[in-house]
């Protein structure tokens, strides 16, 4: 196989994973960037999305609940819907907590989800996971199936981006910013803060579920490791912080950038002798933490800092009156 072709295929896989992470990071951006909700349980919602579509779209099997062979669209929508409902219930309990306490509560929630996915063997096949999940376009010839899946991911990134960007610029987005910056004053302005916070949380979680569903189809396999916080919670946080919290372009940029850093560093480290290559694997984890530190210390706003939307003229007049 010719080297260029190989690099191209690897590039496709990098972009596909980057795209899935971009969706995930956009979901977190709605919660943290817009509304200031500290969700440290991303992996839990991601996992629910992945499992929902996996169970709905696989062929019949004796190993776990499922075998409904539903179309992909149903899988994606059901993942988002179920996650939205669960997020609503979680929000009812947790959202009154202030940000740092919310973080602790969501870590706990994600852990509960992980244990449920691991222990409810009848539904999820427990720690063995769900295998042979169908992947869109997989019957197309190489490399077109990979291109087509990448295109699907990028289209979804674009759609989610446009939607959250419209939301950010709308009055809804401004209320979110107001809540994030100063909750009492938003309340004083007559906004129902609890409802807005809930909306931000539920929408963010639904986007995360969509990312989970994409990941399940891409990997063709999902097990409780999907809810492992290193790659599904902390990496996403680093992506958002590095890219630029509250900036949707920044979220996407951070996702692609950090995934490339995470994945491509191994191409270098695998050339080292065995003993060193094994140690270098840990350095990759260290590198992610280091980048987070550098960005938090030196560029707390990220690569693309937040830009407040300009207020339309008609509103400005009415506000100044």
């Amino acid at each position: 196989m010719d080297a260029f072709y190989g690099y191209m295929l690897y590039g496709i896989s990098l972009a596909t994973m980057g795209g899935i992470y971009a969706v995930l990071t956009l979901g977190l951006n709605v919660q943290w960037g817009f509304t200031g909700l500290f969700n440290a349980g991303i992996a839990g919602f991601f996992g629910i999305g992945a499992y929902t579509t996996a169970i709905l779209t696989t062929a019949p099997t004796h190993r776990h609940l499922g075998g409904y062979e539903m179309p992909y669209v149903v899988g994606f929508l059901a993942a988002m819907l179920l996650c939205g409902i669960i997020a609503y219930l979680v929000g009812k309990v947790c959202l009154r907590l202030r940000s740092d306490y919310l973080a602790i509560a969501t870590i706990g929630i994600a852990e509960i989800f992980r244990l449920i996915l691991k222990n409810e063997t009848w539904a999820t096949n427990g720690p063995r996971g769900v295998s042979e999940i169908p992947k869109p376009f997989e019957h197309w010839p190489e490399p077109w199936n990979q291109f087509a899946f990448l295109a699907l991911v990028l289209v979804i990134v674009a759609i989610v981006y446009v939607l959250v960007e419209v939301a950010r610029k709308s009055p809804w987005g401004r209320v979110m910013t107001a809540i994030r910056e100063n909750e009492p004053s938003a309340k004083a302005a007559g906004k129902n803060v609890e409802v807005f916070r809930m909306e931000g949380f539920v929408i963010g979680c639904m986007i995360m579920a969509l990312a989970g569903a994409l990941m399940a189809h891409y990997l063709k396999f999902v097990d409780p490791n999907a809810t492992d916080p290193l790659l599904a919670t902390f990496l996403v946080w680093v992506m958002l912080i590095v890219g630029g919290s509250a900036n949707n372009k920044g979220a996407i940029l951070g996702a692609f950038l950090m995934w490339v850093v995470w994945s491509a560093t191994e191409i270098v480290t695998s050339r080292l002798p065995d003993e060193l290559a094994i140690r270098a694997a840990y350095i990759r984890i260290f590198l992610i933490g280091l980048m987070l530190q550098i960005f938090l210390q030196k560029f707390p706003q990220g690569i693309l800092p937040e830009k407040r939307p300009t207020v339309p003229k008609s509103n400005r007049n009415s506000e100044t009156v």
Partner: protein, 403 residues
């Protein structure tokens, strides 16, 4: 800026090293494994086993016309996401001929379904044991040198039943490996006529398991079937059981096999009370002895779990490349079947020159591995050998093979 400059210099130095490493006459084989993640300590020994085999090949003639075999390490982290990424790099960037590993079943499942089966790259895992791997539609490209859990679970069930024990309680660490064995064990043991008085999963790395154990102790079990890794929960469970007089007899699978079990609990407490089955390795077998000697010489403990399997997969892959006659991905699968046996002259670990000569003469080769006979069935699985370990009179492990 100074730091940036230094970084740039380091990066270019590494890049130059990598150019140097790609010397002519090198055949790359991917070596995927969970070098970080939950079983990192096991994987270090497995990776060493693979490397010892490659050193044997390279020091006695190399592959084909004198090419060196080079393992390219990729971290599958025991996680499907990481494994798919690792597989993509090996297949597309490193352009390896074939892949040995990854370690965990989940990682293997993800990597083969998403990357290697579509790309037509042969994968030979040394420690993935999930039964679901047998059933993948893989165009005969997925093999493994370790027995599916179905076999070890059955071996323990037979062992317990033959010891005259009619009632057992079962607890397992809730990970894919231990849960799988526990599941097969309960099915097989019930089929033999035994009674499972309690069956409970436990989370690893807890400080105490007293409450789980006292629940399990109800219903009069005669022994505890314990499926766990020694470091994360197994030792604690045995300690808690003995301290509180809850269980006296323990049957365990190979995740529990380690010298620290004796070291931390005490040989006197375990003598006649603990049986650990282990995939593999008839230590009286000539193949195992050849491997153990080489592995010790390389500074490792040959009894480390799956180290022998690691050696076998790397050696088998070398044989397959030799048999295929070129570093052509599409020929590896058929060649692997051809060199694994059962027909042909027996080749043992370290006998690379002999094997090379036989293949050159066009004769059939049958590799008998350190970890057992590697004859693949139609799913690319092996049945595997099992031994049972007990604490002997001298306070160390004493092993005998299960028939």
């Amino acid at each position: 800026m100074k730091i940036l400059k230094k970084l740039a210099i380091t990066a270019s130095a590494i890049a130059m090293m990598s150019v140097g490493a790609q010397a002519a006459g090198e055949i790359k084989v991917g070596s995927a494994g969970g070098v970080t993640g939950p079983i990192a300590e096991l994987v270090a020994a497995i990776v060493k086993g693979r490397q010892v085999a490659v050193d044997h090949v390279n020091s006695s003639g190399g592959l084909l016309g004198g090419d060196t075999m080079k393992l390219v390490i990729a971290d599958s982290a025991c996680d499907p996401k990481a494994a798919v990424d690792a597989g993509n790099k090996l297949v597309n960037v490193e352009q390896v001929v074939a892949i040995i590993g990854p370690s965990c079943s989940g990682a293997t499942n993800g990597m083969v379904s998403s990357v290697t089966i579509p790309a037509g790259v042969t994968v030979l895992s040394d420690s993935a044991t999930a039964p679901s791997i047998s059933e993948l539609k893989d165009n005969d490209t997925v093999f493994r040198a370790s027995a599916s859990d179905a076999y070890q679970g059955k071996a323990i069930a037979d062992l317990v039943w033959k010891a005259g024990i009619k009632k057992v309680a079962v607890t397992y660490s809730n990970d894919d490996y231990n849960a799988g064995i526990a599941n097969v064990f309960t099915t097989e043991y019930k089929a033999l006529g035994g009674e499972i008085t309690g069956n409970q999963a436990h989370e690893p790395n807890k400080a105490s398991y007293r409450s789980e154990l006292s629940t399990l102790n109800q219903g009069g079990p005669e022994a505890l079937a314990l499926f766990a890794y020694y470091g994360s929960s197994g030792i604690t469970i045995i300690k808690n059981s003995l301290e509180n007089g809850l269980f006296g007899k323990f049957y365990a699978a190979d995740g529990m096999f380690d010298n620290s079990v004796i070291g931390q609990i005490g040989a006197d407490n375990l003598k006649g009370n603990l049986w650990i089955t282990q995939a593999a390795s008839d230590t009286e077998d000539a193949s195992y002895k050849a491997f153990a000697e080489a592995y010790k010489a390389a500074g490792g403990d040959p009894e480390a779990p799956y180290a022998a399997h690691g050696y076998d997969v790397a050696f088998l892959m070398a044989l397959a490349i030799e048999k295929a006659g070129s570093a052509d991905r599409s020929k590896i699968s058929a060649a692997l079947r051809a060199v694994a046996g059962p027909e042909g002259e027996v080749v043992r670990p370290g006998e690379w020159e002999k094997a090379k000569k036989l293949i050159a003469e066009g004769k059939d080769v049958n590799y008998e591995g350190a970890a057992g006979i590697n004859d693949f069935d139609k799913n690319g699985d092996v049945t595997g050998l099992f031994s049972v370990n007990i604490v002997g009179d001298d306070g160390t492990w004493s092993r005998s093979m299960l028939k």
